[in-house]
Every structure is written in structure tokens, then in C-alpha cells.
Assembly symmetry: C2
DNA sequence: GCTCCGATTGTTAGCGCTACCAGCAGGCGC
DNA sequence: GCGCCTGCTGGTAGCGCTAACAATCGGAGC
């Protein structure tokens, strides 16, 4: 696969275009064309050039190319904590799509979440002259930062709210929460408690809204929301409070990690799931099916999110007009953590 | 933070060095120095240059710089499935370290694991002229690929075995497994069953070896190893078989996801953890403390792995001699899934 | 036979930056 | 006063590539 780099001669420096040209007996320009516009050179010439390229192990120098073309073939992704399942999966999908289209991706993870850090992340990538940027930070401050950013660089945001001046890909968090909540009500629960994510996260907000809207539409009591931080620990902490309240029969938590904490809290309090309390999560992490009991949850297709983001960005780079937001619909996955209301 | 890009004048093209030089009334060379070697220009001159830089919103063109210096300031990370907790965490740590040292990171995730795909990943990054590469693929084929790769580019591998010609950072998988196994034996279990990862993964192998070595040293029976694929599903599938065998009282699984599957399988078979069966995992994912019961597991410090890898790579780029492998010791975290043997 | 055309290849210039070598002050020793 | 060194600044060249134009060639058309 890789051209053999050592063909006898002691290689002093990597081969450049002129070396290839000389070996092939053509001009540098012809080599360049053979590589970039193969149908503009005679097939026979092209073959000679290719042979020389292989023999010398020639690799085009992207810096030189970029200097003259103005394009780098690099996309940037700004993200908060790529350790989390959602960002990691989306990033992965973007990277896969990029690879298939001969782009390469550069990442800038954020140490903190505020307007300034988003700007810094974008700036850091901009300074590397990426061709475009995907912002993967569904946080209020990101939306805020984006609103005040006019870098002139193609930019796409994921789950960043709809009042920002860049194209967005969004998961319909609201819709997902609606489905989860309706599911629980349909099982006969009088109402549903919600453990939310941090309130300054856009997606956490969407889930609260969806949940609340269903309860209100159905005229059910709307319990107070308790906010966690996405972690299992926070789910556990908040879950212990819920577990003490016997009127709680249905809980919708903002993600699967928090839900795991809730499950443990309920179990420790001696409340059975789903016999006494039904529980629904959000995300459908790969482990959710192996929680105890297997978790009813709302699946987000992060792969699709990533692919949409990539597509949108490429369109943007190629100068297409900005379309409306791309919406990805999440899907309720019913397993065994939700069941009929007691009695 | 970001220089204001629009100062009245219609910006036709981004400012370049000469624009700054002209505005500051100095030569381009002086501007370059003011930016790259501040102590080689008079402070007063530097201030004038900086003012011009800000006024014009000047950004150095990295391609031009790279073309002449030969360095890009970009590091590459080749990884398999950055969605998994281990690679994602390591990548994150590398990225953080890189950021603090003014490097940027480029990722190449692999669609498959074989010698060729590793070579392709490395090649893809090489073609982008990164300054160095971290290979994050603790797989036999990666080691194999690395052995046959002589790209002349600084390269560091993580958990890639010790018989490869590049510097490595390794977690002492063997040591971790030894600790887990000893822990179980010390609780009075006669022997320990092991559910391994895929046998062609280097780290899976190390864990098998550590486990086996303890049993052999203690003269205990060595049960047959069943291999999973790291997933909770595979843990579940293999766990069901173990659950049927009443002689099984202690299980060490190759990672926490698989362990989750085992826990579910045991529960479904009516076997209590830890009263009937003790279970120990590996990794200590953030959720492990919220499994049911909270999981005894072996913690790997992926952050440290990432930082070591970065350091090693930088040293390599700066021409330091290749030292021995950096070893990271994992640590046993005892929670509630392990307990005294029955009777 | 001559012009003209398209297909193919070559030449020139320059992208934006920094290495390298000068130049040019001012201050020091003698 | 002269050479010399130190501290700062400038000029020139060139990194490796491709855009734009120029040149060349064989044959089609008349």
C-alpha cells in the first residue's frame, strides 16, 4: 500500500514535485495535473508520472498546496467534553463522514463552558485555517458565543437553539420528552416527575419543555423539576429524594447516566422498578439495555446528527445557501423499566 | 479577546504580514520577529506592531509558516472507535495537553482493525503533515502494522505491546488483573472465572495473563476463558452460562460494560451479588459506582495515559532519545460487588 | 498547402512566511 | 579617533505548489 520509501538510495530529503517531474521526464506542472486533474494529461504520461510518484514515495505537501489554493481540507470540531457519550458519538460520525470525503478533522475541546471559551475554541481552529467548523456544545453560552461571532468562516452548530445566525442540526429534544412523558401517562401514572440536566444546557431545556407541555396539556399536576449535572451521581442524589415520596410512581430523567443513579436510589429505598415506580431515561447508551431493569429510554441517533452536521458544513463551504435547521427525531425504546401504575 | 475584524473599512481580503508591516511602519521581518521572538525587537517597536496586528485582525497563515519552517503544530491521533470510554478519555487527555502546549490535534479513527487500516490511518495523518502521531489501538494488528511501518515520523503507541519499534505508554494490565484476582482469592473464593475481551486485543491479553498467573501461582484450578467483545451484550451472553454453574462464585470480567451484562445475567438466574457470586470489572467507568451493586473494579487512569503519550511524543519530536516504556499502574477500587465466598 | 483548432505540455509568477545574511546605529576599550 | 562588538532592523531568497497564460503538435477543413 504505502510506497516503499527506501529504494536503495540514501534518502536525504522527502521527494518534492520537481523530483517527480525530473524522474518522469515531464514538467512539474504536468505532475501536478496528473495528480489533481488526471483527465487533463495523456494516459501514458499519467502512468509515467504515477510510476515516478511511487518510486520516490512522493507525498504532496499540503502546506504548499494550501498556500496557493486557499483550502486546507481540514474541518474543525469544537466540543465540550468529548468523553461523554453524545459528543463522542457525534464526533465519531463527523470524522467518518469527513474521511469518506477526503477531509480530515481537527478537534478543539473546551475546558470550560462560557462565551469566551467557545470563541477561543473557534479561534484556535480558525488560526489553523480549517475550512469550516462544527460546534458541538449544546450550551447556552455556546449559543451566546456564536451569536457574537462573525468570523466569516463556514460554521455549523449542533443543538444550539434556533435563534442563532448559523445553520443548525438539532435533535427534537422536545419531541423526545413528549414521547417519554406520554408513554408514562399512557401506563396510567397520574403524573411524571422530571430530573433535568443542567438548566443552561439547551438540550436539557428542550426536554423539560416537552415534559411540561404534555403534563399541562393533559391537566396533570406539574411537579417541581430537580436539576442534575448529567452524572449518575447527581441522578442518585436526586433520586433519593424522590424515593422517599410514596406518591412518586413515574420518573423521567434527562439522560441514561442520571437514570442509572435513580435506579440505584430507588432500589436502596426498597422501591421496585417498574412495579412501584416506572423510570424512563434519555439517549439509549449502549449499556441501557443491560441496566436493571433494562431501561426504557429515548434513543438519539448521534450518527445521523454527525452526518447531517458534516453535510451541512460541506454545503456551506461550497457556498450553498443556508437552509432551515435539520431536525433529527429521537425514538422511544420501551424496555422493562416502565410499567403500569400501581393499583 | 478576538481582534475586532471590522474596523470601518470594507475588508476585502484577510490582512497579511506586509499589511501589518506597512501599518506599523516597519519591515515584514520585524513583524515576524515581534510575533515569534518578542525579545528580539525593541519593546516600543513590538507595541507598535501589536497595535497594527490588532487593528487589522491579522492572523498568521499557518500554511505559509509551515512551508518554511517545516513544522505544522499539529499532532495526529490514530484510534479505533473513539466512542468507547477508554479511547475517548485518552484522546481527551491528549487533546488537553496539546492545547496547553499550543498544539492542535487531528484525529483519524479507523473503520476496521487490521494492519492495513492502521497504515492507512497513519498515512492519512502523514499526508496532512502532522508533526507526530499517537496510535491508540491496543490491538494485535496495530502492533503488527507498526512493526512494518517506517514512516520516519515521530510516533508513539499506547498499549501496543512491548515488542514494537516505537516508544509506548502502557497500562499495566497484567498488574491490574493480578490485583483483581488476588482480591477475589483473598475473600476466600477457591478460584476465579474470567470473561476476557477479544483475544486479539493486547490489553485483553494482558488481563488474561495476570489472572492466570495468580491462579497458577496459588495452585488453583484455572477455568476456561470465555472471550467477549467488550460489550455489555457479550457479558450478558457469557454471564448466562456462568450463572448456570453453581460452582462459580467469583467472576472477573475484562471491562465494566461486560461486567454490567454479567450482573444482569446473574440476577436473572437468581444468583445474588455478592452473596452468591462476587464480580469484579475493569476500567472504572464513571457509572461503575452506580451499578447494582456498586462495582468493584480496576481503575485505569486514562488521563495519565494521555498525558504520558503526549509528553513522549513531544520529546520524540524534539529529538530526545527513546526511553523505556512509560507504565501506568491501575488501581483496585473495592465497592460492593465483591464479598466473602459463600459458606 | 495553409489556417485553425483542440489536446497536451511547458513557463512564469506568486501564495505568505521565515532563514540567513547584511546593515546601521551607538557605546566601549585603547 | 578608530576598530569592534552588541542590539536592532532590513533585504533577499526560497519553502513546494498551482493559476494563468503561452507554446507546441497533429490533424481537420478548405
Amino acid at each position: 500500500m504505502t510506497p516503499s520509501a527506501d529504494n536503495g538510495k540514501a534518502r536525504t530529503r522527502p521527494a518534492v514535485l520537481d523530483d517527480v517531474a525530473e524522474l518522469a521526464g515531464v514538467s512539474a506542472m504536468t505532475v501536478s495535473r496528473a495528480l489533481n486533474a488526471p483527465d487533463r494529461v495523456r494516459p501514458e504520461t499519467r502512468a509515467r508520472v504515477m510510476a515516478a510518484v511511487n518510486e520516490l514515495g512522493y507525498r504532496p505537501n499540503p502546506a504548499a498546496r494550501q498556500l496557493v489554493t486557499g483550502r486546507s481540507g481540514v474541518l474543525g470540531v469544537v466540543s465540550f467534553d468529548t468523553t461523554l457519550y453524545g459528543p463522542a458519538s457525534t464526533l465519531y460520525a463527523i470524522e467518518q463522514a469527513a474521511r469518506q470525503n477526503d477531509y480530515v478533522v481537527n478537534i478543539a475541546s473546551l475546558g470550560a463552558l462560557n462565551r469566551r471559551s467557545i470563541a477561543e475554541g473557534v479561534e484556535r481552529l480558525h488560526a489553523q485555517s480549517v475550512d469550516g467548523i462544527v460546534v458541538l456544545a449544546p450550551h447556552e453560552s455556546a449559543a451566546d458565543g456564536l451569536r457574537h461571532l462573525s468570523s466569516g468562516l463556514p460554521l455549523v452548530a449542533v443543538d444550539a437553539g434556533d435563534d442563532i445566525p448559523v445553520p443548525v442540526v438539532m435533535v427534537d429534544q422536545r419531541g423526545g420528552a413528549v414521547r417519554a412523558t406520554r408513554h408514562l401517562l399512557s401506563l396510567g401514572h397520574e403524573t411524571v416527575w422530571h430530573l433535568s440536566g443542567p438548566p443552561d444546557w439547551i438540550d436539557a431545556r428542550g426536554r423539560v419543555e416537552g415534559w411540561r407541555s404534555v403534563l399541562e396539556a393533559e391537566g396533570r399536576p406539574v411537579p417541581e423539576v430537580a436539576a442534575g449535572d448529567w452524572s449518575a451521581h447527581s441522578g442518585y442524589r436526586l433520586g433519593r429524594r424522590l424515593a422517599e415520596d410514596p406518591s412518586v410512581t413515574a420518573v423521567f430523567a434527562a439522560n441514561d447516566q442520571m437514570t442509572l443513579g435513580v435506579l440505584r436510589a430507588l432500589r436502596e429505598a426498597g422501591r421496585r422498578v417498574p412495579e412501584d415506580v416506572s423510570v424512563v431515561g434519555f439517549d439509549d447508551v449502549p449499556e441501557a439495555a443491560y441496566f436493571w431493569p433494562p431501561l426504557t429510554t429515548v434513543r438519539q441517533d448521534f450518527g445521523e446528527v454527525g452526518r447531517h452536521a458534516f453535510r451541512l458544513l460541506i454545503d456551506r463551504i461550497q457556498g450553498a445557501e443556508e437552509g432551515g435547521p435539520r431536525i433529527v427525531e429521537p425514538e422511544l425504546v420501551v424496555r422493562e423499566s416502565s410499567g403500569p401504575a400501581p393499583h
